[in-house]
Amino acid sequence: MFTPLWLTLKVALLATLFAGAAGIALGWWMARRRFPGQSVLDSVLLLPMVLPPTVLGYYLIVLVGRNGLIGHWLERWFGITLLFTWQGAVLAAAVVSLPLIYKAARAAFEETDGRFAQAARTLGAGEWEVFLRISLPLALRGIGAGLALSFARAMGEFGATLMIAGNLPGRTQTLSVAVYAAVQAGDDRLALSLTLVISVVCVVLLVLASRLLQAKH
């Protein structure tokens, strides 16, 4: 029962790392700039949040499958296959959790007072320094809440993960997939224990996220 847990934590952690880096960077960029087509880009970035997971899974298969647009190239030049691997599971989880951290980061950056950043610039700080020492610390609570939600979403990802990574015990069978397999096999006891584990972890994450958002006021 613990193998799926370790696997899920590993996948969710890495997925949140990648999605977090991308989401924070994109959130900052979109908060600071105004350009035509911005709302379209915003919608595209939020798409994984509203698309059915099976649709996402299918897009990913078409992209990174052996005969896929990117997958074919990945396999020929790097020998990398993403289907049926835990790395594929990380990809699926990162894609679905990106909108959560992006939205939270963008909102957090937009809420910070631009005057602090301007003051830093007049004092000679470069853009990177402004980001690291002014904008990011000011937005940290909102970003922290977004990361907690992203992590919870990555942990719970099922549909796209099942399609990309499959249900391989010990290799890609994350907690949510393990629950599904246990129910299919009629093993109610296993299904129940796995469900309780996920529920407890998710409740803890949600409490953490709401504390981070509340403490601001």
Binding site: F84, G166, Q184, A185, G186
Partner: protein, 253 residues
């Protein structure tokens, strides 16, 4: 007020009209193994034509998944499984009426490879070679085709060498999809499934199984449409149903 009265009577009339089919139509829910998808859809249409007023709604998935649904109380009238053990479990749980249980078709296990594959294996031992890094099979715990496959592999004493190569599918159709897409190097499906995707897959050879691949069908004890359920089962086992099934590659039990 005149309008209110008119609206009320119109609403009554409309709901009576809508409800009336429910009064005389008999609708049954048939849970059938994934490999029966195309065949049973055709059989269902033929049965509905032969029995006006009766309708069949199908629920296709791996037999183990269907059993799990019925055990949790899913309202099903007829169950068609791809192997005997799943139907045995249904019988042991008291879900099916044993006197309605009968075998209705036979199928064959085959090894398939993607159509674009350079070569096809000739024997099971060939699968231990390096050309075959990923082999798809049904999840043995819930998918009958996976159980047939593992039994054959164990009998051939290849369980060890093939262990790291398995990619498990949730149903025989998912195994078929993996092979058709070229995501795996080979897969074990039924002959009837290979026929569904003949352009994307090629059959390497037929795999003799440790027990015959016979499909049982039965009526559920909790079924509220016993007459319609039995009519469907009789149709499936009768000459017209059998002819349709044979057209899809199934053989007589």
């Amino acid at each position: 007020m005149q309008i209110n009265r008119w609206l009320r009577s119109a609403a009554c009339a409309v709901s009576l009209v809508l409800a009336s089919p429910l009064l005389w139509a008999q609708e049954i829910v048939v849970s059938a193994a994934a490999s029966l998808t195309n065949a049973f859809q055709a059989v269902g249409k033929a049965w509905e034509q032969a029995q006006p007023g009766r309708k069949a709604t199908f629920n296709f998935a791996a037999s183990g998944a269907l059993l799990a649904q019925m055990q949790q109380g899913a309202p099903v009238d007829v169950f068609a499984s791809a192997d005997q053990p799943t139907m045995d479990k249904a019988q042991a749980s008291g879900l099916i009426a044993p006197d309605t249980r009968a075998n209705f078709v036979k199928n064959e296990l085959v090894l398939i490879v993607p159509a674009k594959a350079a070569s096809a294996p000739k024997t099971l031992e060939d699968l231990t070679g390096d050309t075959y890094k990923r082999i798809a099979a049904g999840t043995p715990a819930s998918v009958p085709v996976g159980r047939y496959t593992m039994n054959v592999v164990e009998q051939a004493k290849l369980a060890g060498p093939l262990q790291p190569k398995w990619i498990y599918g949730e149903s025989v159709r998912q195994v078929l999809d993996y092979v058709a897409r070229g995501e795996v190097d080979a897969g074990f499906v039924y002959r009837t499934d290979a026929l569904v995707k003949k352009d994307d897959t090629q059959i390497a050879f037929a795999v003799p199984t440790t027990s015959p691949v016979t499909y049982p069908i039965a009526q559920l004890t909790a079924s509220k449409q016993a007459a319609a359920a039995q009519s469907f089962i009789a149709f499936v086992r009768g000459p017209e149903g059998q002819k349709i099934l044979e057209g899809f590659g199934f053989s007589q039990p």
